[in-house]
């Protein structure tokens, strides 16, 4: 699948109510072109992850709309959202999100199993994805036998194997050293370009922003700079 344009309009999201209410998003609007890699920068608690969750259908906004291509994410049913996450949208997590008891190959194969892809096809695509992220020689290793960087590559391969149109990566280098983090960011950028994949990456590490096509600042639930 090639990248889809992402269009976010006036998205609001508040957690809790009354005096303890936390306004995570306050009328956020954002457009990301197909194949574009946008870095979403901001401090902890600024609303980066909340925006990603709303875009990816893991959370629903209180107001506003999110469109991915022709699909309006915000009005989808739960089942449609699940289908969305099995296909057009993929995630990369800060804590890698790998299942400890599964090998790299098995972890990467999970999204394809959820789509009941034919086993032979599944294995071909898993092998290809792992080779793309440079882990062709570590397919049978379990997460605790891999370094942090390797684990995140597995997480990336799992995201790519479903051939998404939109890749959402939440602090993908948050638990890596700076050198490894740069490698991962370069890898994401390369793959995004190769696959013309719309990519939104959150980070608060300035050194990693260089690989992005565009950097967007978010603070207190507002987009500060969309340039």
């Amino acid at each position: 699948m090639t990248g889809e344009p992402l269009r976010v309009r006036e998205v609001h999201r508040t957690f809790g109510s009354g005096e303890t209410a936390v306004h995570a998003l306050r009328g956020v609007s954002l457009d990301v072109a197909p194949g574009e890699l946008v870095a979403l920068r901001g401090r902890s608690g600024s609303g980066k992850t909340s925006l990603l969750n709303v875009i990816g259908g893991l959370d629903r906004p209180d107001a506003g709309t999110v469109h991915l291509g022709d699909l309006e994410v915000t009005t989808m049913t739960d089942a449609d959202l699940l289908a969305l996450r099995r296909g057009p949208v993929s995630y990369v997590f800060q804590s890698f999100g790998l299942v400890p008891v599964l090998t790299a190959r098995e972890n990467v194969g999970v999204p394809l199993r959820l789509r009941a892809v034919d086993p032979a096809e599944r294995e071909r695509r898993v092998t290809e994805a792992l080779e793309h992220v440079g882990l062709g020689g570590h397919t049978e290793h379990r997460p605790d036998e891999l370094s942090g960087g390797q684990q995140q590559r597995v997480g990336l391969a799992r995201a790519l194997v479903a051939e998404p149109g939109l890749l959402l990566a939440d602090e993908p280098t948050g638990q890596l050293d700076s050198e490894t983090g740069r490698d991962i960011m370069r890898l994401i950028a390369r793959l995004a370009k190769e696959r013309t994949m719309t990519t939104l990456v959150t980070t608060h590490d300035p050194a990693l922003l260089a690989v992005a096509d565009r950097v967007v600042e978010i603070a207190d639930g507002h987009l500060v700079d969309a340039g």
């Binding site: 992850t49 699940l82 997590f93 804590s95 790998l98 199993r113 009941a116 086993p119 605790d144 799992r158």
Partner: protein, 1049 residues
């Protein structure tokens, strides 16, 4: 923050996990404590039951011979030696050489007895008790005696009458006149005194001689010059009614002390382990013998007590194991919930000691709650289960048993809680080393070691049956727990292999569910260990409990059937004229004579085998009346009785019409030699009749004289079953006949015979015979050459014979050849279960006549039945009918009543209740532990589940897979648990069943109620699955929060 406030806040923060811990501790402590309280009660009941034996089996007996004038000092010395047996009843029986009875046959004997204590165990039925003859140096010519009713009736003498007794050794010695001043009958046939004077129960014992008596003289009469040497037996019967488990050692020591004193007194070697040398006797007792089963009885009771204790300790240990596992699960859940708090404390510098202190505080609070709860609840549970004692009283606080039972598991609970908390906290930091540790444990063969240890302990457990095995070693007690633990670890090793197969199968499929479940189960086996153990133990405990309950029911039924022999058993313990009436009563009550068999019983030595019980019964009826357990036979019972009947040939008989009430005989004897000695009064004759059962009964006919007389035999009270036939008419001749007529030439002439007034053609059925002992008419005997016999294996082995082999059975002076037609493990009602011979009584009587036995043998051997065994269609109604008409001296035993009584026995009832209590506690603990471990599992998987959700997996599907995984774990474990339970039940249940002190004959056969067990495990699977589903449903749905789990800020 104050310590108490901190504790309150810590415990209040996670109420569900704290409640799980509290329930685990409380349930374990309550049940373990209740079991121990129950154990004390059941042990006492078991000891009481073991000591509740007939007086003869708990007596101390001293026997020896004395000459006149020696009784006083010896009696005082013996009684002094018996003094430590406080409260014992001491009786003394002196017997002397039998005397002849003037005017009666040469085979008639009078047995004299000098009894101290007769008045306490017998009641006068007429007249008064005898008094000692006036003191005189010369032998008394007259002596006052009392006779048992049966003897008085047989001798046709009443109070006021007398009999002249002759000296059999010296015919020239002056006769002694026995003045009968009274008659008596025994109050209780089981009283110990009658074992020293068995003749008193029958009054008459006919074998090769006919003994009448005992002619009981006043106490001390033998110390004069009435008799020469007499054999005197002192019997002390201690009252053991108040002896409890704690008093057994004292009772045993007193018994040993008394035996040592008596042996020293009589000059016997003191073999009670004190000294082995014999000193000089200090009393004049010749050929002394000191005997007692009391030490063995006390030893046996001690074994019973130990067995009950160990039997209840075993489920208690299993319960502690199960409670510990449940507690570990709950404590691990709490530790997991507090993970963040713990990490924060560590970050802020809290040491391990500080964390341990906090955990200790939590654990102590929970343990105190558990202890208080147990103190309040355990006595109530004990009362509810045992059905006796107070529900609760403050005195329970002073009960050392309660605290001994309570404190160790409470301390264990504290240790387990603290250790689990620290272990979980540390293992989260070092998961890799934890897995390595588990791999090491599994790989080191720990499971094999535990299973081998358990098997060895199980073997030891089985050997516990051996009498004399008194110690309760720890290995024996924890054997089932070792087996359970070993098999559980083994299951932990095997189940992942099974899961791997499932995972491989699932991995080849396109979908995720099967592969996911397989991967999780196969690769996270260690996390399932708690669940496995809980379910294994709950299933194992249930299997043991249900198996125990069913086995007790079966064993009690088996043992009751063995003890009674038939659904109804009537025993004539004291002889009387009512034997026939008793038989008729049983026949009427049973409604069908074919459901009743008269039983004749004797005990004899066969070669080297002593005390073999010989039973003679109507084998045709026995096929229906007796129902021996098939596994104790070498062929079906119908076939065995068929083999007994195969040899039945009863010979001829003069058939009588119907069931005659009386038979009139016109007869005389013809003396062809000198008849000067034969007076006109003639000689007593008897008529032998045989009924449809083939059993011969001898009926008094009156005196046959030289002139023709018509005599009448009353058959109305004999309970005969048609058709009836006359098989003989005999006239024993007194000795003096031969004294005057050296060459007897008598012949008995039967002129006519009528039954109820109807003449019966005589034909040539009854042929005349005569010898020195008498003259008789007899029908031709059967042609059976060897009587078919069923013998027990022990007897067959000792005689080195088997089916088809022939042995000789001594019956009086006859040597009866018998052929073994079947070998069985045991015979019901045999005194020693493994030593018995079963014969067809009619065949025996017919064959015995054919065999003969020398000149002193009477014409026909009549073996009078003393028992009637019945299998009526309605045993309850029949028992009621028999009981309503039961004559004096007979007792009724009802198999079902005996079984019901034994089921109510405190040991059996208590053990069943205890086992069910443990099972209920197991299920409760399994439920709590399973819920806690499921909650912990759900929590541990939440991040993975959130990732799956993020990848597009439906939440209900994730939960379904998780629930299915738990159900599969439970289901597979239940199967393993059943196997384990069966192994444990087969090992443990026979011991639990044997705790009531009754001999287990036939041996206990473990019964496992398949239907009940299937229902139990299905319910368990359903209940645990429901618990698992409910717990997993409540897991967090905060998807976004879970996805950020473990992230750095």
């Amino acid at each position: 923050m104050g310590g108490a406030r901190l504790l309150r806040r810590r415990l209040g923060a996670h109420p569900v996990a704290v409640a799980a811990i509290t329930v685990s501790v409380l349930a374990s402590l309550v049940v373990v404590t209740a079991l121990q309280l129950l154990s004390a009660r059941i042990t006492d009941a078991g000891v009481r039951s073991a000591l509740d034996v007939p007086p003869v089996d708990r007596s101390v007996v001293v026997t020896g011979s004395l000459r006149p004038g020696e009784l006083g000092a010896t009696d005082a010395a013996v009684r002094a030696a018996l003094a430590p047996l406080a409260g014992a009843t001491v009786t003394r029986v002196g017997t002397a050489t039998s005397r002849g009875i003037a005017g009666r046959g040469s085979g008639d004997r009078a047995a004299l007895a000098d009894v101290e204590g007769l008045r306490q165990v017998a009641e006068l039925t007429a007249g008064r008790w005898p008094q000692r003859p006036a003191t005189s140096s010369a032998a008394p010519r007259r002596v006052e005696v009392v006779l048992p009713d049966a003897a008085a009736t047989a001798l046709a003498v009443a109070p006021g009458g007398s009999l002249d007794l002759t000296d059999l050794v010296d015919p020239q010695a002056p006769r002694v006149t026995a003045e009968v001043v009274g008659t008596f009958r025994p109050r209780d046939a089981e009283d110990g005194l009658w074992s020293d004077l068995p003749l008193a129960l029958d009054g008459v014992v006919a074998s090769d001689f006919t003994s009448y008596g005992p002619f009981v003289v006043a106490p001390g009469t033998f110390d004069g010059s009435l008799v020469g040497t007499s054999t005197v037996t002192w019997r002390a019967v201690p009252d053991l009614g108040d002896v409890r488990a704690g008093g057994l050692a004292g009772a045993g020591a007193r018994a040993d002390d008394v035996l040592t004193r008596l042996r020293a007194l009589t000059g016997l070697p003191t073999v009670a382990g004190v000294q082995a040398s014999a000193g000089p006797a200090t009393v004049a007792l010749r050929s002394p013998r000191v005997a007692s089963d009391l030490p063995a009885l006390v030893d046996g009771a001690t074994v019973v007590g130990d067995r009950v204790r160990v039997s209840l300790l075993t489920p208690a240990v299993l319960l502690v194991l199960l409670g510990s596992v449940a507690l570990v699960g709950a404590a691990a859940l709490l530790a997991t919930l507090r993970d963040g708090e713990t990490r924060l404390l560590r970050v802020r510098g809290a040491s391990t000691r500080r964390l341990a202190g906090l955990a200790l505080g939590d654990a102590v609070v929970v343990a105190v709650v558990g202890v208080l709860g147990a103190v309040l609840v355990a006595p109530v549970v004990t009362r509810a289960v045992s059905g006796s004692g107070a529900w609760w009283s403050a005195t329970v606080l002073r009960d050392a048993t309660l605290w001994r039972a309570l404190v160790p598991p409470a301390l264990l609970a504290v240790a387990v809680t603290v250790a689990t908390t620290l272990w979980v906290g540390r293992s989260r930091e070092d998961a890799r080393s934890r897995r390595a540790g588990l791999r090491l444990a599994a790989g080191s063969g720990l499971d094999v070691v535990l299973v081998v240890l358990g098997a060895l302990a199980a073997v030891q457990l089985r050997r516990y049956d051996a009498v004399g095995q008194r110690s309760v070693d720890p290995v024996t007690t924890i054997a089932p727990a070792l087996v359970v633990a070993g098999l559980s670890v083994l299951a932990l090793r095997l189940l992942p292999l099974l899961a791997r197969v499932v995972a491989r199968w699932g991995a080849r499929r396109p979908g995720l569910d099967a592969a996911w479940g397989g991967w999780q189960f196969a690769r996270r086996a260690a996390t399932q260990a708690g669940t496995l153990l809980l379910v294994l133990l709950a299933v194992a405990m249930g299997t043991i409990a249900f198996g125990h309950s069913a086995t007790v029911g079966r064993a009690v039924a088996d043992q009751s059937a063995f003890d009674t022999g038939a659904p109804l058993r009537v025993v004539q313990q004291v002889a009387g004229p009512s034997a026939g009436a008793t038989g008729a009563l049983v026949d009427r009550a049973a409604g069908d004579p074919g459901r009743v068999t008269p039983v004749w019983r004797t005990s004899l030595d066969l070669g080297s085998v002593e005390g073999v019980t010989v039973l003679g019964m109507d084998a045709r009826a026995a096929a229906r009346v007796l129902r021996p357990r098939p596994d104790t036979l070498d062929a079906p019972w119908a076939e065995v009785t068929g083999r007994l009947l195969a040899g039945r040939d009863l010979g001829d008989g003069l058939a009588l019409p119907g069931t005659p009430r009386e038979v009139s005989v016109t007869a005389k004897f013809v003396a062809t030699g000198s008849s000067s000695a034969v007076g006109p009064e003639g000689f007593a004759a008897s008529l032998a009749v045989r009924d449809a059962r083939g059993i011969v009964t001898s009926v008094p006919l009156g005196a046959v004289g030289p002139e023709q007389r018509t005599l009448t035999a009353d058959l109305s009270r004999l309970g005969l079953v048609a058709p009836v036939s006359v098989v003989g008419l005999s006239v024993p001749l007194p000795d003096f006949v031969y004294f005057f007529v050296p060459e007897p030439t008598f012949e008995l002439v039967l002129t006519s015979l009528a039954a109820d007034g109807t003449d019966v053609p005589l034909g040539r059925v009854l042929a005349p015979h005569s010898d020195r002992a008498g003259l008789w008419l007899a029908a031709a005997p059967g042609r059976t050459s060897a009587v078919p016999a069923v013998v027990t294996r022990e007897v067959a082995d000792a005689l080195r014979t088997g089916r088809g082999g022939r042995v000789t059975l001594p019956l009086g002076l006859r040597e009866l050849p018998v052929e073994v037609v079947a070998v069985v493990d045991s015979l019901p009602t045999a005194q020693r279960p493994g030593r018995g011979v079963l014969l067809d009584l009619p065949t025996v009587e017919a064959a015995a006549e054919r065999v003969g036995g020398g000149s002193d043998v009477r014409s026909r051997l009549v073996l009078e039945p003393q028992e009637w065994w019945a299998a009526p269609a309605d045993p309850v109604q029949a028992a009621s009918a028999v009981r309503a008409g039961l004559p004096y001296g007979t007792s009724l035993e009802v198999e079902d009543e005996l079984a019901a009584q034994r089921l109510r026995d405190p040991v059996n009832a208590g053990m069943r209740s205890a086992m069910l209590l443990v099972t209920l506690a197991s299920v409760l603990l399994a439920g709590v532990g399973f819920a806690a471990s499921t909650a912990a599992l759900g929590r541990a998987r939440r991040h993975e589940n959130a990732v799956l959700l993020a990848l597009g997996s439906p939440p209900e599907r994730i939960r379904a897979v998780l629930v299915l995984e738990r159900v599969l774990v439970v289901a597979v474990t239940v199967v393993v648990g059943l196997v384990l339970g069966v192994v444990a039940a087969v090992t443990v249940v026979p011991l639990l069943v044997g705790g009531d002190g009754h001999p287990q004959v036939p041996p206990v056969r473990v019964e496992l109620p398949a239907g009940l067990l299937t229902g139990y495990v299905l319910l368990l699977v359903l209940a645990l699955s429901a618990v698992g589903a409910a717990v997993l449903r409540s897991t967090s749905r905060d998807l976004a929060g879970e996805l950020r789990w473990g992230e750095s800020p």
